[in-house]
Amino acid sequence: MSESLAQTMGFAATHPVGLPIYLIVAAILFVLGLMACMLRRNAIGILIGIELILNAAILNFMAFWRFRGGLDTDPAMSGPMFGVFAIVLAACEAAIALAILLNLYFNFGSVEVDKIRRMKH
């Protein structure tokens, strides 16, 4: 596809909702992720909460980039670039976290964070 899909759909210049709606959506995602981190016992559930928080942050970057002022064009593509780097680092984080959790499971037979007080025996 040579054109951006958003351009094809005809809303490249105008946008249906304003910036505060996106900020509120991202704030709701952030708070839900934080609640998951506080509420869950299972360490993988905490990881799911962290993913929600990361997505809220990337959504904020993208919304601020779309509703930016100043120059008419942004050759640096700062919003999507932030998102791409954040997604790559999130992949790193998930791989390392799951490796640590598998080790904890081999050592303790559980990934419930309130049962584990040390990293090894």
């Binding site: 506080m38 993913e51 929600l52 008419d72 990934v111």
Partner: protein, 178 residues
């Protein structure tokens, strides 16, 4: 997008408006399930729909490349990794222990207070209501050009970090002789 009827239905302000609110409904419901569901498998499945909805937001905001990246890496990579982690560390279909009601109430109260604080801050600032500036017609070409010119060093560093993380993860879960 070859189908003309689909194109007409999606063209213009009204189509984008409907698309935005449908995506918002999907993201809100699935994020609630992902954060608050008792079963960890159910939470991971809810996260799947949440991530797809957020990819739709990126498409609406004008970056098709980031939307596709989100689907390939987040949905296709990280979420599958999470599912493997769940199935390897959990007895299948076992539910989490019930939360204590006091903790549940405290966390919900704290979450609502934090959300109110953030939204009052958002309401104080006179944000720009309309996106007046245009986005590039195709964002793949400028993104690729920037990655090998302006962002070359962060790009290489991200690649090295990813390599080190994967080698480190494989090292951490190696089979050990006891």
């Amino acid at each position: 997008m070859n189908n003309e009827a689909v194109q007409i239905a999606l063209t213009g302000w009204q189509g984008a408006n409907i698309a935005f609110w449908v995506i918002t409904l999907v993201v809100f419901v699935s994020a609630c399930f992902a954060a608050l569901s008792r079963s960890i498998v159910q939470a991971a499945f809810a996260l799947f729909f949440c991530l797809l909805g957020i990819a739709g937001y990126y498409l609406l905001l004008g970056s098709a490349f980031l939307a596709v990246t989100q689907i390939i890496i987040y949905v296709g990579g990280i979420l599958v990794l999470l599912m493997f982690g769940i199935l390897l560390t959990n007895r299948p279909l076992q539910r989490d222990l019930p939360y204590s009601p006091a903790l549940y109430g405290f966390v919900c109260l704290a979450g609502l207070l934090l959300l109110g604080a953030i939204e009052s801050v958002i309401a104080m600032v006179p944000w720009q209501q309309a996106a007046t500036l245009s986005v590039p017609a195709s964002d793949v070409r400028p993104l690729g050009r920037m990655l090998i010119t302006k962002y070359l060093l962060p790009f290489e560093l991200a690649g090295i970090t990813l390599l080190l993380c994967l080698v480190g993860a494989a090292y951490l879960v190696r089979r050990r002789e006891r």
